[in-house]
Amino acid sequence: MSKTKKSICLLLASLMAFSLLLSACGGGNKAENANSGKTQNTEPTKSSEKPVELIWYTIGAPQKDLSRVMEEVNKYTKEKINATVDMKMIDFGDYSQKMQVMVASGEPMDILFTCSWAFDYVQNARKGAFMELDDLLDKYGQGIKETLDPAFLKGSKVDGHNYAIPANKELPAQEVWRFNKELLDKYNLDMASATTLESLEPLLKTIKENEPDITPYAMVKDFMPLMPFDYVIEKMPMAVYLDTKDYKVVNILETPEIVDTLKTVRKYYQAGYLSPEVATTTSVDDLYKSGKWFMDRAATQPFADNLWSASYGYPVVSTAAGDPYVYNWSVMGSMQAISANSKYPEKAMEFLNLLNTDPVLRNMIDSGIEGVHYEKVSDNVVKNLPDSKNYDMPTFSLGNIMINYLNEGDPENKWEEFKKFNASGINSPLLGFNFDTSKITNEIAAVQNVKEEFWSSLMTGTVDPEEYLPKANEKFKAAGLDAIIAEAQRQIDEWRATVSE
């Protein structure tokens, strides 16, 4: 018997070794990355003559020519502020999780991207991930203070302090209905008739009846109908009305608005205007690529139609679906923070100041090297060269966009229009209020789970709201929604008392 046991142990051990080997192969890449990060940081950069190396984590798909461009950038920054940057890019889908782990484990870094939708700014500021910037801004960030719309710095304060530098870009968020223009023209439809969700029905109906291969409304599982609320936490059912006077936090599942809206969405779902899989669809890029969609809803900015048409390769037009509101999350849409464990916060701030004010640096980081990735058509207009695909950066995430060169075809008054758009924004009631969830983390975790269970299927009309809305509400309450609402109400009242003083 013991002989069999021995051989079994041997067998198990070799199997384990085998699977370890396999997993080691898979993980090899990661380990290498971690190592390279470490070796770079142990380089002594303390002496004042030597340029300081700043480590900068930012969001976006890593680019092939990144190190080549950074070499050029470093030549420039070394001259200007005696610092170099080592930029590390993490793809959109991985950014939050990887940064959470890296920040929690104290990975050395100086500058990092943060916002309302990835590596959450407010929560991480409260947890102590970022350095408080008030003094640094006064000392080294005067340029930022001058160029940036004051609403940005004001709106991104957490408990009265700035922890990150917002990018100067569109300030309000405005939703539009987007249409595939070819189909609009083909059936001679007028997009001006699209105002509310209900008003879309005749348009959708025409397409459904005549074009069986087209998805009339290209919707994903994150869809959220437009309702007149300012949410305390995005996509969680507690909110105040946009036109609120008393700042009462309501449970939106109990409002008449949601009952009506969900009825409409349900009607559209049953009529086949949406994909039957909508509640599990995470992306409709295939529809955009093939042009087999008629309409959807998106957040706009000035001249957005041009951007969309250029990226899809066919004309896309849009009409307003709501008013431009300035929300907390739109103010905090893209920011760069200085890490709490940064060794050179002053240099980091000097660099951020330069990035937001110096067109040469800003454009180099955005578009790459002149003559390689782009060429100049005129003084401030550029044309992409074929190699630009090796350095295709998300413009909005890298600081002030309003000092960027214009692309060929961009209207001359592009940035003027941005400023006008920013001025047109209406402040949402909760602008400047940041919910502190530290006292109710257990309830948040439980409510989050209930939300994941019901949200998508309810909001996309996949399930009958008459049956599921009360069910969801009951479960939300059991998970502690009322406690969260009460805490939110308490904090909002406190916040209003300090604001009105």
């Binding site: 067998l11 920040v103 509640a279 709490a340 994941e452 299927s457």
Partner: protein
């Protein structure tokens, strides 16, 4: 003195063996024993400190059992515990029976080349990631273009919204899991069968035992120790659900949560946006403590009945 000398003599005597153990021992030391100090985070409200990871741990405030509360605070606690336990029990027992049966069948196939082909075919799914398996399943169950719905349609039956119908999912999940895992496990049993002394079978054949009698009286009893060990190991992981299976395969469809939500997906969904490390550490600690207790208990029971089959 003599004992100490004996100890070093012992080390010297088995130096080759110890040297062979060294890499594995180091691996466990670095990746299993050292990180264990991190469990202290489960009892803290983790806040970042600018002086690095250790400083963050030391400076964070003690919160006692607060981080564990979210696991038990709602009636979801019952659902996720039930799902995790029942699915894993089903996986362990159905998986065990199927793997052993397949191993026995494979060992009886006289055409060795054919047997190897089958074996490889069954082994392959084990190496696929759950994301890919999720898309395989989707190609069967998609409501518009899925294979199953098209078959239903061609028979004139109403199609089914698979991703909105919880009642089918216990079967689908078990089926998908077995498809992926059984091949791998059967290789373990097959290897054990290959190690059985052939003379036992020859003696049985001379005595006139049928194939079935041989299997029942020789193969299965001799497989018993490895079956016990494999099952004990699986029981240790009974509180860990296979995240990919329960998240990717049902495409994170909310209407299916009543039958697809398990401890690991619950923790992920609850904490993915807040990133509270303390709470996720608490969940992990809870899972491993329960697993530890279960292994010790079941090993104790096995020991009582059959000392040789027990793990330790």
């Amino acid at each position: 003195m003599k004992a100490v000398g004996g100890f070093f003599q012992n080390i010297y005597k088995s130096k080759v063996m110890l040297f062979m153990v060294l890499p594995g021992a180091l691996w466990f030391l670095f990746f299993s024993y050292l990180p264990m100090f991190g469990t202290v985070i489960a009892f803290k409200e983790y806040r970042f400190s600018r002086d690095g990871f250790w400083a963050s741990i030391v400076n964070s405030k003690w919160v006692g059992w607060d981080n564990f509360k979210f696991l038990f605070s709602t009636n979801d606690a019952y659902v996720i515990t039930r799902n995790t336990l029942l699915y894993n029990l089903a996986f362990i027992f159905i998986g065990l029976i199927l793997s052993v049966v397949l191993a026995v069948i494979l060992s009886e196939i006289s055409n060795k080349r054919l047997a190897k082909t089958y074996q490889t075919g069954m082994f392959m799914p084990y190496f696929l990631s759950w994301v890919i398996v999720g898309y395989f399943t989707f190609s069967f169950l998609s409501s518009e273009r899925g294979l199953l719905n098209q078959v239903l349609q061609s028979f004139g039956v109403d199609t089914i919204q698979w991703y909105n119908n919880p009642k089918f999912w216990p079967y689908i999940l078990i089926l998908v899991y077995l498809w992926k895992a059984v091949g791998y496990n059967s290789v373990v049993y097959l290897a054990a069968i290959m190690g059985i002394d052939r003379s036992l079978y020859e003696a049985a054949m001379i005595d006139g035992a049928s194939k079935f009698q041989q299997i029942r009286n020789i193969t299965i009893p001799l497989l018993k120790p490895i079956i016990t060990i494999m099952t004990l190991l699986a029981i240790g992981k009974i509180f860990y659900a296979d995240f990919g299976l329960f998240y990717q395969v049902p495409r994170d469809s909310g209407t299916l949560y009543s039958v697809t939500n398990v401890i690991d997906t619950y923790v992920y969904r609850g904490l993915k946006s807040t990133g509270e490390i303390g709470m996720s550490t608490a969940a992990g600690l809870y899972q491993s403590v329960v697993g530890f207790i279960l292994v010790i208990t079941s090993n104790y029971i096995v020991r009582k009945y059959d000392k040789d089959s027990a793990l330790f």
